[in-house]
């Protein structure tokens, strides 16, 4: 591994471009979680008396912070990264300077993480304005979104290192990201699920993010939250090297 402060230069490059294009890029991405909140929280929630002693809207809202953070990072580190790598040849341009390929990959992941924090925090603000934030502990949500972002940035970049063409990302989304979105506790608690499902949930990064974010927004603090955070750190450690290896193999092998 060949990583220094220069990885931030790659982050900065993406940030400079983002600053120029955010208005067109960002609006629709924010709209989607709000549509879910309206349709399922208000609409369907009307027929759901209560979940864990709270309204369905209240239950769902923090989950959508986690899921929109995940989606934002995943699309950044798959489609957007792939376009930079394959079509714009941005990586080739950068590695011709003292910046290494490993730093390019880490910089891309840092930027993917930024997307998670940005999107998740904006949804948090919307939820706050709707009166659905119950505790100042919600201020700890952005750090959780950093962990969330880094995990999914790594997973996304792994696929960017693997896929033969841009269409192949649909496998990643259909087989990995969408199931996580639906079954990691965003829409319903996993407590009523069979034991095996609850145990498997521990292997799903989004599950830990949802648990953390929901607890912080609701002010349900417990030492168990540290276990969830520790799991995310473990995921980050495990998945750090594979994207570096795969992209090196892809571009210079």
């Amino acid at each position: 591994m060949d990583i220094s402060y220069r990885a931030w230069k790659v982050f900065w490059r993406n940030f400079v471009v983002f600053r120029k294009t955010w208005l067109t890029n960002i609006m629709f991405n924010f709209l989607e979680p709000l549509l879910y909140l309206a349709a399922m929280g208000y609409g369907m929630g009307y027929y759901i008396p209560a979940i864990e002693g709270m309204s369905y809207l209240q239950f769902l809202a923090p989950g959508l912070i986690a899921s929109s953070a995940m989606w934002a990072t995943c699309s950044e580190c798959t489609y957007d990264s792939f376009v930079r790598m394959k079509f714009q040849k941005t990586y080739h341009a950068i590695v011709a300077t003292p910046v290494s390929l490993d730093e390019v990959v880490v910089g891309e992941m840092l930027f993917g993480t930024f997307k998670s924090v940005l999107y998740g925090t904006v949804i948090l603000l919307v939820i706050f304005l709707l009166g659905l934030v119950q505790s100042p502990a919600a201020l700890l949500v952005p750090p959780v979104l950093v962990l969330c972002g880094f995990v999914f940035a790594e997973l996304g970049m792994m696929w960017t290192g693997l896929v033969p063409k841009i269409d192949t990302f649909s496998y990643f989304f259909t087989l990995i990201i969408t199931p996580m979105f639906l079954f990691a506790g965003v829409f319903f608690p996993l407590d009523a699920m069979p034991v095996i499902v609850r145990q498997l949930a521990w292997l799903i990064p989004l599950y830990h993010v949802v648990e953390l974010v929901r607890s912080l927004v609701l002010g349900q603090l417990s030492p168990g939250l540290l276990v969830h955070a520790a799991w995310l750190v473990v995921f980050i450690a495990i998945f750090f090297y594979p994207p570096l290896y795969l992209l090196r193999r892809r571009l210079t092998g």
């Binding site: 220069r6 230069k9 900065w12 490059r13 400079v16 471009v17 120029k20 294009t21 714009q88 040849k89 941005t90 080739h92 341009a93 950068i94 590695v95 011709a96 300077t97 003292p98 910046v99 290494s100 210079t252 092998g253």
Partner: protein
């Protein structure tokens, strides 16, 4: 003076395919050194090893006195690279592209702003400074790519097929910029499959084909050594080209037969022409012209460059 690039028995293999098969060459300070050859000759692969993009399989490769395997950052800090494919940042303006790139080299902001101003003037892009790259013409993009590669004041500028895909006017503009750089003392290393480009710009060149270097030297010397001054192209209406060959002598240095056409490389075109005119038999094509690098390539490989 030490060599800018020094390759010894350089080999590159990709998944069992050998793209570069043990080549040796030296690029000297201040010269324009060219790699001439058809697509797939191994030119771009060699270039990529020089700018530390892909690892060397075997042999040694030193750039500016550093080994490419152990000191890529030191080398890359002193190189400029203009790649074959456009890899500018399309969403950013001309000026933003240059400033951002200066950042990769840790050039302080004030110094970067100063250099960017100079480079905009050099590339003739002052009026386009605030224009997004996606709105530039192909020739302007290439000039910007060259300007960007100069932002760190490189000791060696590498250009991979610098004028491929450009119209003639844009091509001559790029050549002029390259001559300016050469005059300013920048060592240039370029790959091309345009013989005119190689002949116009290179002090020395190597002719590559299928991963090996076939020949090395100054362009005009290579032409003289291999194919003399002139080439007589002959295509007989009847019979085989090889039959004519037996009937000409004197002044013909070498020959090549491609399809039905005989190429006679001669030191004295007028003599050879008269000799051929004295022959019986008709020709569907008969032409005497000055010898070029393409003839050298044709003679060495039996194939044309395209």
């Amino acid at each position: 003076m030490t060599a800018v690039v020094c390759a010894r028995e350089l080999v590159k293999k990709y998944n069992g395919f050998t793209a570069v098969r043990g080549i040796n060459f030296v690029v000297r300070p201040g010269e324009c050194f060219g790699f001439l050859g058809p697509n797939g000759a191994g030119k771009t692969t060699t270039i990529k090893m020089i700018h530390c993009f892909i690892p060397v399989t075997a042999g040694t490769l030193e750039v500016l006195g550093y080994d490419v395997g152990s000191h890529p950052r030191e080398i890359k800090a002193r190189l400029g690279v203009v790649s074959q494919e456009d890899n500018l940042d399309p969403e950013l303006t001309v000026e933003e592209n240059l400033l951002l790139y200066a950042g990769y080299f840790d050039i302080p902001r004030g110094e970067a702003v100063k250099r960017v101003r100079e480079l905009l003037a050099f590339a003739g892009l002052e009026e386009k400074a605030g224009v997004e790259v996606e709105h530039l013409s192909g020739g302007m993009k290439r000039r910007l790519a060259i300007a960007r590669a100069l932002v760190n004041k490189p000791q060696l500028l590498i250009l991979d097929e610098p004028t491929t895909g450009l119209d003639p006017e844009a091509r001559h503009m790029i050549w002029e910029k390259m001559r300016q750089l050469k005059a300013a003392g920048v060592t240039l290393l370029l790959t091309t499959h345009y013989l005119e480009e190689a002949a116009q710009l290179c002090d020395r060149l190597v002719i590559m084909d299928r991963g090996i270097i076939l020949e090395e030297g100054p362009p005009e010397e290579l032409v003289r050594r291999h194919v003399g001054r002139e080439v007589l192209e002959l295509a007989p209406v009847d019979g085989e080209a090889v039959e004519i060959l037996a009937k000409v002598d004197g002044g013909v240095l070498a020959h090549q037969i491609i399809g039905r056409t005989l190429y006679l490389y001669t030191g004295n075109g007028r003599d050879t022409w008269q000799q051929v005119q004295g022959l019986t038999g008709r020709f569907s094509h008969m032409r005497l012209r000055p010898a070029t690098l393409e003839d050298v390539f044709l003679k060495l490989t039996g194939r044309s460059l395209d």
